[in-house]
């Protein structure tokens, strides 16, 4: 039974409530890093990793520090600091453990702190009422992971399209951001089809 609930959360956050194309979170990196397919992949992997980890840690911080001491109004400040510290830590660990991966992800890691999908998922985990349910921690982590995968999916689709758009003949005024937004709109329209999925 629980497995089904967890699976629903995972599929739901990847396809139906896609972070970028439905909830409109994480648009800055979505627009900024979607010019090339390989850098989009690197950014996507880094975001999946940080979002999963951030969901895990912020949930614990909220449940075992903020709630017992009745300081939940510090939610925003504590979450952003946790995320900033986490990103810094991940950056240092990757640099030590795998310099080649660091080379590939290096420039994207600092950008993740200001990716609103990361803070967004941390706040959403609290708002979706996972706090008092069974397996709340696991649900949060799955929502974080699913959100990251959904972000990566949208980013990769967009990068693939934009690589081709570079070669297309477009009116000068539409080049760059305007056509990217219109393409994103079409993608979002296509993703609406997933809302009819029964799981």
């Amino acid at each position: 039974m629980e497995i089904k609930v967890l699976f629903t959360i995972l599929i739901g956050t990847i396809f139906i409530n896609n972070f970028v194309l439905y909830q409109m979170l994480g648009l800055c990196p979505f627009l900024g890093v979607s010019k090339k397919l390989d850098s989009a992949l690197g950014m996507g992997l880094a975001v999946i990793f940080v979002m999963t980890l951030a969901s895990f840690i912020t949930f614990l911080v909220y449940k075992y520090i903020l709630v017992p001491y009745d300081i939940t109004f510090l939610r925003t400040i504590s979450f952003i600091l946790v995320i900033a510290a986490l990103v810094q830590l991940v950056e240092m660990v990757i640099d030590k453990v795998s310099p080649s991966l660091y080379q590939a992800l290096g420039i994207f890691l600092p950008l993740i702190t200001t990716n609103c999908a990361v803070l967004g998922v941390a706040v959403l985990n609290i708002n979706s009422g996972f706090l008092d349910t069974d397996l709340g921690l696991l649900k949060s982590v799955i929502q974080g992971f699913g959100g990251g995968v959904g972000f990566t999916l949208a980013l990769l689709l967009m990068a693939g399209i934009r690589e081709r758009l570079e070669l297309a003949e477009i009116s000068d005024n539409l080049r760059g951001l305007p056509i990217t937004f219109i393409t994103a709109g079409l993608l979002a329209l296509a993703f609406l089809g997933f809302a009819g999925m029964k799981i």
Partner: protein, 197 residues
């Protein structure tokens, strides 16, 4: 003269959304109605001006290598103040804007202005810069919300426009937001290219 320039540059020449292309998430997500857009503008401008003042005050003695965490903490503090105030006095607005109130922290406009402007300029200039940027943000949000509320909900400021007409619900959700902003950017590029000729 200088003050006036710092004030107006945010509205067109350095419009944070249309020219610099930052702060997209709240722009697209909260422009489902004009009132949401106005409240979001007020909240963001409030945080922007306050953080600009404080960043400009502490610019002398913040060590360079830890300035970003300090700026983020300052911003998060003011966001919490705005969040609690809205929750206390305008609970309906707080509910409608949802997670996009705490997400003001990661709005690149605010950190961008702190880093680029307030940490290098005097307090008064920073205030003008903050208000101007907030206004530029607000104007863009207003236009987007105006179009989307009319087409997507058949309403304006919450009042029904044409009774009995079925609005296009795609405009109120994500696709409509992307299309409207894409067309707006196109129009702006068109106007700018005409100016050059």
């Amino acid at each position: 003269m200088n003050y006036w320039q710092e004030f107006v540059k945010g509205i067109w020449k350095k419009n944070p959304i249309l020219i610099l292309g930052i702060g997209m998430c709240p722009t697209l997500a909260v422009t489902t109605s004009v009132s949401n857009a106005l409240w979001m503008t007020m909240a963001t401008t409030m945080v922007l001006v306050c953080s600009n003042i404080l960043v400009s005050l502490v610019k002398g003695f913040v060590p360079g290598h830890i300035r970003i965490p300090i700026f983020i903490t300052i911003i998060a503090t003011f966001v919490t103040v705005v969040e609690l105030t809205l929750n206390a006095f305008q609970p309906a607005v707080y509910k409608a804007l949802g997670i996009f109130i705490p997400l003001i922290v990661v709005n690149c406009i605010i950190l961008g202005r702190a880093e680029e402007f307030a940490s290098k300029n005097s307090i008064i200039l920073s205030v003008f810069d903050g208000i101007g940027m907030g206004l530029g943000f607000g104007v863009t949000l207003f236009v987007l919300a105006f179009v989307r509320e009319i087409l997507g909900a058949n309403k304006l400021f919450g009042l029904t426009l044409i009774p009995g007409m079925q609005p296009s619900s795609a405009m109120i959700i994500a696709p409509g937001a992307f299309f409207t902003l894409g067309l707006m950017l196109w129009g702006m590029n068109y106007i700018n290219s005409r100016k050059k000729d």
